[in-house]
C-alpha cells in the first residue's frame, strides 16, 4: 500500500482555485465586451480578436520551444493577453499591426523576463504603447461604430476624448453638445478602442470577477475614484475648459483599464493597502495626462508607470506582522 500513498506536507487540501481557472474566469469576464465590440465594429473587431489571441498563443508556444521552457499555454495567460491587447486596439487597426502587437506583448512584455509571473509590466499594455509610439497613424485613426445590420459604413471620426482635446487645444473650450452622448457612451456607441467603448459590458464582466473573487475592490475603486474626484475638481474650477467627471468615467479606457488592466495580478501590488496606493497613482496620472498631456488618453501610460512603481509600493506597504508594532520602514 505504502508505495501508493502520498507523503506530501500539510495542508492536505486545496481551495481548488488554480491559475488556469483564474485566467479562464478573466477571459469569460471579457466575453461581453468582446461581444459588444463585434456588434459595434463588426468583422474588423472579430479579426483583431482572433489575430491577437491566436497570435499570442502561437508566440507563447514558440518561446517555450526556443527557451526550452515548459509549455504553459494551458494556463490561459497568453490567450488572455491576446484578448486584452485586441480590446485595446482601434477598430481600423490592420491585421499585421495586431500580429505585431501580439508578438511584442508575449516576447518583449513577458517572455524576456522569464514568463508568467516575472514580467514587471502588463504585457498587453506594453504592446499597445509600443504600437502607439511606432505607428501613431494606425493607432489613432478611429472609426465610428457601425452596428451589425445597420448597413452603415464605418466612418472615420474622433474619440470623445480626442474630440475634446482637439477642441480645447484649438479654442480653449469644450466642444459643443458634448454632454449629449451619455446614453451612447454607456452602451458603447462611440469611437474608441474596440473593447473600451461599452461601460455596461465591461461592468458586467467586472461583476463576474468580483463574484468569483478574482479581483478585489481596492484597485478599481481607488483608480476610478481618483479620476472622478481629481477630474471633478478641475471641472468645478472651470467647467468651460474641463470635462465633467461622468465624461472622464465613460469615455476612453478608464473602465477597461481600472477593472481589467490595472488589476493584472502579476504587475500590481499584493497587499490591499498597496493596491489602494497603486490605484490612486493610476488615477492621478490618468487625469493629468488627459488634461495636460500630449495624448488625449492616459490610462495605458498611467498603468505602466504604476507597474514600475509596484515593487516600491510593495516594499512600503508590507502588512503588519502579528505581534509586532507597525514596522518603521528601513
Amino acid at each position: 500500500m505504502s508505495d501508493q500513498l502520498y507523503l506530501s506536507s500539510s495542508p492536505h487540501i486545496h481551495s481548488g482555485e488554480t491559475t488556469d481557472k483564474v485566467m479562464r474566469a478573466v477571459i469569460y469576464s471579457l466575453l461581453p465586451a468582446c461581444g459588444v465590440a463585434i456588434y459595434f465594429f463588426g468583422l474588423p473587431a472579430l479579426m483583431l480578436l482572433l489575430v491577437c489571441t491566436v497570435g499570442a498563443v502561437a508566440f507563447e508556444a514558440l518561446c517555450a520551444k526556443l527557451f526550452h521552457s515548459k509549455l504553459a499555454i494551458a494556463d490561459g495567460s497568453a490567450a488572455l493577453t491576446g484578448i486584452l491587447l485586441a480590446l485595446n486596439l482601434p477598430p481600423s487597426a490592420p491585421w499585421w499591426l495586431a500580429l505585431l502587437g501580439a508578438a511584442i506583448a508575449i516576447i518583449v512584455g513577458k517572455q524576456v523576463y522569464g514568463g508568467l509571473g516575472y514580467n514587471p509590466f502588463n504585457p498587453a499594455l506594453v504592446a499597445r504603447v509600443v504600437l502607439l509610439i511606432s505607428f501613431p497613424v494606425q493607432m489613432t485613426s478611429w472609426s465610428a461604430p457601425a452596428p451589425l445590420g445597420s448597413g452603415v459604413d464605418a466612418l472615420t471620426t474622433a474619440t470623445p476624448l480626442g474630440e475634446w482635446k482637439t477642441a480645447v487645444m484649438l479654442t480653449g473650450k469644450l466642444p459643443e453638445g458634448m454632454a449629449s452622448g451619455f446614453g451612447s457612451y454607456f452602451v458603447g456607441n462611440m469611437a474608441g478602442c474596440i473593447g473600451e467603448v461599452s461601460a455596461i459590458a465591461l461592468l458586467l464582466g467586472a461583476l463576474y470577477l468580483f463574484w468569483k473573487r478574482i479581483i478585489t475592490w481596492q484597485i478599481p475603486v481607488s483608480f476610478i475614484g481618483t479620476v472622478v474626484v481629481v477630474g471633478g475638481l478641475f471641472w468645478l474650477s472651470d467647467a468651460t475648459r474641463y470635462p465633467d467627471p461622468l465624461f472622464h468615467l465613460l469615455t476612453g479606457g478608464l473602465i477597461l483599464g481600472a477593472f481589467f488592466m490595472a488589476t493584472d495580478m502579476v504587475t500590481s501590488p499584493v497587499t490591499g493597502r498597496g493596491m489602494l496606493v497603486y490605484g490612486f497613482g493610476c488615477g492621478l496620472v490618468t487625469v493629468l495626462i488627459r488634461l495636460f498631456g500630449g495624448y488625449p488618453e492616459g490610462v495605458s501610460f498611467a498603468i505602466l508607470l504604476m507597474n514600475a512603481a509596484t515593487p516600491l509600493i510593495d516594499r512600503y506597504t508590507r502588512p503588519r506582522v502579528f505581534g509586532t508594532v507597525a514596522e518603521v520602514e528601513r
Binding site: 506536507s9 492536505h12 516575472y118 502579528f322 505581534g323
Partner: protein, 440 residues
C-alpha cells in the same frame, strides 16, 4: 446580532464535519497489540521502566519522564510486555515503543488515588498532572504541568479553554463537549485553582451551536465566558484565539504567557479532571476517524497505542484504495506512510483520502495574486519569504519574519499556482534556527 469575535486573515475551507458531527462517541475495542511510543509529547522522550515479559496493569507507568519538560507514559490496558523496540511512529521514523499484548482483563493498577481537588495544594495538583502524563491534546502535546508553571515574572490573569476545533473534518472536541460537559467543567475548575485566575473564556466556533448551548448550560451561574467565535480557519490557533477573545496580541516571538494567558484544549481539561479527581493517567482520547477513504466515519474513544489499522477496522474498513493517510486534520496533520502507526495522546483525528480525491499537480510560477498574503493570519508575505528561501537567502527570510509563521497552511491552501509555501517556510525556519544555533 453582535459580531462574532475573530482574528484578521484566515480562510474558510469546506469543513466536512457533517460526516461525524452527529455521531456519538463509540468505544473502540482493544486491539491485539498496543504500541505505546515512549515519545508522545514535545520534550524529552520517556525512558522504558518495564522489561519484556513483565505483566503490567492499566495505568501503570511503562516509561519514566526524563527532565522537567517530559511526562511518563502508561500502559493503556493490562497485559504482558511483548517487546520494547523501535516501531513506526507518527513522525515517520521508527521510535522506541513498549508493545503490550492485552490480557483482556483491562484491570487498573491498584494504587490509583482519587482525590478532592479542593483539598489538594497547587503543587500536588501539578504533580498529579505530570504523573498522569497530561499533555496538550489539541495536537501540540506540550506537557500541561510545564504550561501551568509560568516563571514568576509572567503573571497569568486569564485562562482560555480551546473548544474551537477549526480543523475541517474533526469532531472529537465537539462530541466531548456535548457528551461530557461536566468533565470539561471540572477540568476548568481545577485549572482555575492552579492558575489562580478568574478571567476564564471557553471559545467555540459558531458552527457548533449545540456544544455552545451545552457548555453554557454547564457553566451557568459561573463566571466562565462561553464565547461563540466566527467560523474561520485557524480560529483555534493559540495566538489567534487569544486575540479574538481578549484583544491581546502575543508579541512576535513570544508566548501566551507574555500577555498573561494560558490556553488549554477542552480535551486536555477533561483529562485533567480524570487525572486529579480519579488519579487516572492519560491512556485514552477521542479521535475522529473520517474521510472519503473510510467506510463509516466515526468518533472513537481510543486507547493510546492502538494501531491506526485497528481504528479503520472499527469504522467499516477502507473504502477503496487510500491515497493519503493523515494523522490530525487536513490543514496541519501529518501524512503517514502506514496504518501500523499507533494513535497517541495527540491524535485528534485519522483522515483518509481515497485514490482520486487527491490530485497531484506541478506547482507553477507565483502570479502575485496576493491570496497567500491576505490569508496569512500572521501578517506575513508568504510568497516573498518563499522566494527568498528558494534562493537560500535566509537572512532575508528572517527579516521578513519567517519565524512568526504558525504553519497553519492557509497560504498553500489558497495558492492558485499550487506552490508549497508552508513547506518552504518550514524549511526557512529550520535554516534560521540552525543559523542561530551556530551563532551561539
Amino acid at each position: 446580532m453582535a459580531r462574532l469575535k475573530t482574528f484578521p486573515g484566515g480562510l474558510h475551507p469546506p469543513d466536512n464535519k457533517a460526516w461525524t458531527a452527529a455521531k456519538a462517541i463509540e468505544i473502540c475495542p482493544l486491539p491485539e497489540e498496543l504500541i505505546i511510543p515512549l515519545s508522545q509529547h514535545i520534550g524529552a522522550p520517556a525512558e522504558a521502566c518495564v522489561a519484556v515479559g513483565d505483566k503490567v496493569k492499566k495505568g501503570q507507568v511503562v516509561g519514566r519522564a526524563k527532565g522537567f519538560v517530559s511526562v511518563p507514559v502508561h500502559a493503556s490496558t493490562s497485559g504482558e510486555v511483548t517487546a520494547i523496540e523501535p516501531r513506526p511512529h507518527a513522525s515517520g521514523r521508527n521510535l522506541p515503543a513498549v508493545v503490550i499484548a492485552p490480557d483482556g482483563e483491562d484491570e487498573w493498577v491498584d494504587d490509583l488515588a482519587a482525590a478532592d481537588p479542593e483539598a489538594l495544594s497547587v503543587e500536588e495538583i501539578k504533580d498529579r498532572l505530570r504523573d498522569a502524563g497530561i499533555v496538550g491534546m489539541g495536537g501540540a502535546t506540550f506537557p500541561a504541568h510545564v504550561k501551568l508553571s509560568p516563571p514568576g515574572e509572567k503573571p497569568i490573569d486569564t485562562l482560555i479553554l480551546n473548544g474551537v476545533e477549526c480543523e475541517p473534518y474533526l469532531t472529537a472536541d465537539h462530541r466531548l463537549m456535548l457528551e461530557t460537559p461536566g468533565k470539561v467543567r471540572q477540568g476548568i475548575e481545577i485549572l482555575r485553582k492552579v492558575l489562580a485566575v478568574d478571567n476564564i473564556y471557553l471559545g467555540i466556533e459558531a458552527n457548533k451551536p449545540d456544544a455552545i448551548a451545552q457548555m453554557r448550560e454547564e457553566c451557568a451561574g459561573s463566571d466562565i465566558k462561553v464565547e461563540a467565535l466566527e467560523v474561520k480557519y485557524p480560529q483555534g490557533a493559540e495566538k489567534q484565539l487569544i486575540l479574538a477573545l481578549t484583544g491581546r496580541e502575543v508579541p512576535s516571538g513570544g508566548l501566551p504567557m507574555d500577555v498573561g494567558v494560558v490556553v488549554q484544549n477542552v480535551g486536555t481539561a477533561a483529562a485533567i479532571a480524570d487525572a486529579v479527581t480519579l488519579g487516572q493517567p492519560l491512556i485514552e482520547r477521542i479521535c475522529t476517524v473520517t474521510g472519503s477513504g473510510v467506510n463509516e466515519p466515526k468518533n472513537l474513544r481510543v486507547r493510546v497505542g492502538t494501531p491506526l489499522a485497528h481504528l479503520v477496522e472499527q469504522c467499516g474498513g477502507l473504502d477503496g484504495e487510500p491515497s493519503k493517510l493523515i494523522m490530525g486534520g487536513p490543514m496541519m496533520g501529518m501524512a503517514q506512510l502506514t496504518l501500523d502507526v499507533p494513535a497517541t495522546r495527540g491524535t485528534s483525528g485519522l483522515l483518509i483520502f481515497r485514490r482520486g480525491d487527491i490530485k497531484v499537480r506541478e506547482p507553477g510560477p507565483c502570479i502575485r495574486c496576493g491570496r497567500c498574503v491576505s490569508a496569512c493570519p500572521a501578517g506575513l508575505l508568504p510568497t516573498t519569504i518563499a522566494a527568498y528561501a528558494r534562493l537560500s537567502m535566509f537572512d532575508e527570510t528572517e527579516e521578513f519574519k519567517a519565524m512568526d509563521c504558525i504553519e497553519c497552511g492557509c497560504c498553500s491552501f489558497s495558492c492558485p499556482s499550487l506552490i508549497p509555501l508552508v513547506q518552504t517556510l518550514r524549511y526557512a525556519k529550520g535554516a534560521i534556527l540552525e543559523k542561530r544555533r551556530k551563532m551561539q
